[in-house]
């Protein structure tokens, strides 16, 4: 069964007559890396916001694990889909890097020692340990992106949705991200990758979708 299923989904921003997405039909499994590409303004980020319930379709319906997305709260969706925003500044709100990663982990209901252990592991993996007590928004652009990724990865969602995740990452950290994606796949989880980074997509994507003027033109 598809993890996410879109049926005839259209979306139009309020006050605009031209729809951003038109009659989209799509099934996403929680395995493999689905890459979505397209020119600026083709509707990629809008699609990612629809998949995470941040926006609601003006037409059609979206199901997550067989349940209508409209019947779920953002909190319930967040447990199943990990979403990394295009601009990481928008999802960093805690006082320290450690707090930022721990915020979601604490909400998983893990015992305190296990939660602390998990936070340490994630910080180590993303090479953020030396910034543990730093203010997240004072980090460099690449570090902020790594932190946003780390905070979402720590929740171990069934599907990861990454909007332009390689922006600001150097080749070494892109490889690190790729390795983590491989790890996610090995653990039976899926990834949706929205990116312009053709090299990264070619290396990791198992399915490639092209979006143009609000419709998929190729797969």
């Amino acid at each position: 069964m598809a993890y996410i299923e879109l049926e005839n989904v259209s979306f139009c921003y309020p006050g605009q007559s031209r729809p951003v997405l038109r009659e989209i039909n799509l099934s996403i499994l929680n395995k493999g890396v689905t890459a979505i590409t397209g020119a600026n303004g083709s509707g990629k980020t809008t699609l990612s916001k629809l998949l995470t319930g941040i926006l609601l379709p003006t037409k059609g319906r979206i199901k997550l694990n067989g349940q209508l997305l409209t019947s779920l709260t953002l909190t319930q969706i967040g447990r199943q889909i990990g979403y990394v925003f295009q601009n990481p500044d928008k999802q960093l709100f805690c006082e320290t890097v450690e707090e930022e990663i721990a915020f979601g982990v604490r909400n998983l209901g893990l015992p305190p020692d296990q939660a602390a252990q998990k936070v340490r592991e994630v910080m180590d993996y993303f090479e953020l340990t030396r910034h543990a007590q730093a203010y997240p928004l004072s980090l460099s652009a690449g570090e902020k992106r790594r932190l946003a990724l780390a905070a979402v990865f720590a929740l171990e969602p069934g599907l990861l949705l990454l909007d332009e995740p390689t922006t600001g990452l150097d080749p070494y950290r892109k490889k690190l991200l790729g390795d983590y994606l491989d790890k996610m796949l090995a653990a039976g989880r899926g990834v949706v990758l929205i990116s312009h980074d053709q090299k990264f997509i070619n290396r990791y994507a198992t399915r490639l979708m092209g979006l143009q003027d609000g419709q998929f033109i190729e797969e």
């Binding site: 709260t73 967040g78 889909i81 928008k90 999802q91 915020f103 979601g104 604490r106």
Partner: protein, 243 residues
């Protein structure tokens, strides 16, 4: 009326707000609010559509009216509980005044939307307000929607990381809302810093004298409308509506 000079619109807003502040009886305030709605209609602003955007603030408004009603003593007691006067005629009078006053403020402020923000900067400059201050007003207007969007995004990010803001108790909710201010403050500081550098890079204040591509010109309609509002405001304020 949509084509009026921005300075005329500023005068209209000042007149309506001044009346709302000084009038202190529900009926004149209700009349003032209805008159403001007529002005909005003439300016082709849909008040009710705009008001619907703020419907989430309605419980707060209702709570404020109830508190105002309970804490205003005097008049005839309409409802009391164990000797404590909960509802009095003075309380209702006071809360109705506040309701109509707030509605007038809110609706008169909508007039500002009928002109471009750049026109208001020009208007302020031509009203002899220093350009730096007028520019700051423009920047505030320009960035307000950006900050609102940032708050929304942070709220979404918090919920996606497991916080159900609908279900957690108020005392915890307040704690989570404090998370909104750190990124917002940081973003304001960062944007202000970047803007200052960009402005200096584009020669802001390099010469003392600034010229403008366009100058605002009053028309006959502006003089008529401005005259009407100023005279009417003075007349109402001096004609015994003050209590």
């Amino acid at each position: 009326m949509t084509g009026l000079d921005p300075r005329t619109k500023i005068v209209i807003i000042i007149c309506l707000s001044t009346l709302a502040v000084f009038l202190n009886e529900p009926w004149p305030l209700l009349l003032l609010f209805v008159f403001t709605l007529v002005v909005l209609l003439l300016m082709r602003i849909n008040f009710f559509r705009m008001a619907m955007r703020f419907k989430k603030l309605l419980p707060l408004l209702l709570l404020m009216l109830i508190i105002q009603s309970v804490f205003t003593a005097g008049g005839e007691v309409m409802f009391s509980f164990q000797g404590v006067h909960i509802l009095t005629t003075n309380g209702i009078h006071s809360s109705l005044c506040i309701l109509f006053r707030l509605l007038t403020f809110f609706s008169s402020a909508m007039i500002i939307m009928t002109s471009n923000s750049k026109d208001y900067v020009l208007a302020l400059v031509q009203l002899k307000i220093p350009y730096e201050i007028a520019f700051m007003v423009l920047v505030a207007l320009r960035f307000l929607p950006v900050f609102i969007e940032e708050i929304r995004d942070t709220l979404v990010a918090m919920q996606l990381r497991g916080i159900d803001l609908q279900r957690i108790p108020w005392r915890h909710k307040i704690k989570f809302y404090t998370h909104l201010f750190a990124p917002l403050l940081s973003s304001v500081m960062l944007k202000a810093h970047q803007l200052a550098i960009t402005m200096e890079a584009r020669a802001f204040r390099i010469y003392r004298r600034r010229t403008y591509l366009r100058l605002l010109q009053y028309r006959v309609a502006d003089y008529v409308v401005m005259g009407f509002f100023v005279i009417a405001t003075i007349a109402v304020l001096t004609r015994g509506f003050l209590y």
